[in-house]
Symmetry: C3
Subunit: 310 residues, 3 copies
């Protein structure tokens, strides 16, 4: 069947989550997204050459919890899209990641593999829990690479009569072989939070680094957040070692109850059994403090796992 | 994998739905079935040659909303069937479209591509909202082509002890290269409505036409419905242009409160970028009036979209 | 696509279920698992050679009701697993059948095809309704074949802080070409029931037999169950004929209200239209009596069906 490629990934790990505030410890199997490298998935994708430099493409991607076999919701949570591509760039319709989420990914790309082990995950970056990584009903335009420069814009239609709650995101970046830097902004008009991300990556050959600065101009309920992360990844043969550090500071213009600080530290290693299969281990330590400096979260994750692509 | 074919379709459009009764207007992304050519789907199908002219076949088809990635319910809503085929025709078990629905499809085949733009859709044909297009627990027999004549029958088992609520449908038709006419009837014994459809298609080469006459002998809640539709499609190179008109009249033997009239007018065009990919535009205008002539619906749909088969 | 195999099975039958206690009779379409050979399914699986005798494998299997198109829940109910295999055996992570369930399957393998027609199904083996055939969050180790001997162990992590409700199962067996015997035990620590199974199979060439003895050390709510089954299967060309008998006795250490007896008798035949497609017929008669000898269930199933693998 040449029109469609069936692909996927199963990622499972076993580890321990220690809650140092509640003083509990749980040994668990993780489905990947919650304590491993990536969420498990299967999907269908294809590209058709329409002639004249024009191409059509589609992608449908289910996400599931491999530890229990449960599908995540909606069914094609990962992506459900249709694209038309050409010299002009790409127009994509449907559900897929926002360009803002792409730039966040770049900023964590060397920070323990942009995984559940990444230092900024699990509450260190407060914005992580409330921005939309994907938009439904989205019309996107991605520019072609213009001498290294690229840009993209997303518009998600609110589909409601009498209100104006479309969501927007845009990004602009510059990419060379060893270097990439990008800026993005996301505005979800159905809530008052606005998100800005600045991210960069540099590959020095024997190691590579990524850095992120995010800013949330938040609602009264969320507060304003300033977020910083740095990661380094070192490939050694079939191994890749990585470490990351993340820090955030939340300010509350209203009263101060939202004020707080959070930090995370993470280490990880992967070992490639083949191009498609790797074993991995990860460690992540997260501390979140409220406006009077009390720890509201102090959590340590350690896990060992396996990831297989097909 | 020779035993199974993986196939599907992604259909997405962007347009405007104007409600002239409420005086609202909404710009939307449509998943196809609600404002485009067809509902998006993916499926598995296969045929096995058993020798002696006998074949086994199966089809499993999921329908989904491509604008949000949500699966429709049940999972294999489109079809979930197993067939045995031979010189005797075909016996099919499981869930699939009724033969009555097939004939309705024939009657709208040239009426803006039997799509969301079709003149009779969205309330003009009152029966459209209450007949079952597919039966579960269905045993079907489809005759072979007998000198142009064909027939089919569906029985859906009620699976309840002590009641007799099986559902039935049958069709009979005649088909030549340029011409097809068919009659169908559907009786869903768990409600008192009965449906009859007469449909025809003629292909004149430079254009083709389809016509439909449906009749619902309805329950007190629904009333009796007489429904008429006419469509014409003109292919011009990679383009196809189509227009349709539909009209219905509802009579209420009880009091008269169900009396009413409805009409729809539709225009559409498709442009084939390839055999598998097309761009399209459509327009549909629907007016529904109640027993005193007041408009209960006055709606206009305009949308532009893309459909890709794989 | 060499990395993944798409496979499945559609099994549908039509038959009659007669409840001789309520004196009702229902003609139904069965989805396979409830009145046919097996539950319908589709799945993805693959194996990757990692070199050095090591292999990675995955399997994702959805189960669905082919009569209505509904997916069973969770989505990959059949299996969702990732394995690493080598000379040491196999380590499997995720959701899949327990080794105890494997041994139960062996004990019914010649008893009308381990299907819905199997004599012990539908209430004769009381344990059938309450043991977990699959574990989530499971770590399994399966030994290699060691001169005919094999063993396996399952551990399912409870994933709860402060409790110890992991589930366990193990099996040990011996297998030759014509003969197999195995013992298994399952302990689900979130309830007080414990399950033990002893199973054997012998293939005499012109016919083969299977036998099962199961024991449930039950909670107060369930009682203790002793279960026996015998089955014989006779292949004749494209046909296979099979019959089975099962019996169980429940003892209640507490009061006696749980005391009771149950028996089942079953007959079936399959006819292979090809390697992948078969027609079948089955008959199953089940009687369950309570502590005073009154029939609480007296049920007869007759069905004819078709099963197709892809």
């Amino acid at each position: 069947q040449s029109n469609v490629t069936l692909y996927g990934r199963v990622d499972l790990s076993v580890g321990n989550l220690k809650d140092k505030v509640k003083n509990t410890s749980t040994t668990q199997m993780f489905q990947g997204g919650d304590g491993g490298l990536t969420t498990s998935r299967w999907g269908l994708r294809g590209t058709e050459d329409l002639g004249g430099g024009l191409k059509a493409a589609f992608k449908l991607e289910n996400r599931f919890n491999a530890d229990t076999g449960a599908s995540q919701d909606p069914y094609f949570k990962g992506e459900s899209s249709l694209s038309l591509m050409g010299g002009f760039g790409e127009v994509k319709l449907g559900r897929s990641t926002t360009v803002y989420d792409d730039v966040r990914g770049l900023g964590q790309s060397r920070d323990v593999f942009d995984s559940a082990f990444t230092a900024s995950s699990n509450g260190v970056f407060k914005s992580g829990g409330d921005y939309a990584s994907r938009f439904d009903n989205k019309i996107s335009y991605y520019s072609p690479n213009m001498g290294g420069f690229y840009a993209g814009i997303d518009v998600s239609l609110d589909e409601k009569a009498g209100v104006s709650q479309d969501k927007y995101a845009f990004k602009a970046g510059y990419k060379q072989k060893e270097f990439e830097v990008a800026l993005a902004h996301q505005n979800e008009k159905d809530k008052s939070d606005k998100y800005t991300a600045l991210a960069a990556m540099y590959d020095f050959g024997s190691f590579s680094v990524s850095g992120a600065y995010n800013q949330r101009k938040g609602s009264a309920a969320n507060g304003d957040d300033s977020e910083y992360a740095l990661g380094v990844t070192v490939p050694v043969g079939a191994w890749a070692f990585s470490g990351g550090y993340a820090y955030s500071k939340t300010k509350d213009s209203a009263g101060g109850a939202k004020n707080g600080k959070a930090s995370g530290f993470a280490l990880g290693a992967t070992y490639a059994l083949s191009k498609r299969t790797r074993l991995y281990a990860g460690y992540r330590d997260v501390v979140v403090k409220n406006n009077v400096g009390a720890k509201t979260k102090d959590e340590r994750l350690v896990a060992f796992g396996m990831r297989h692509d097909f």
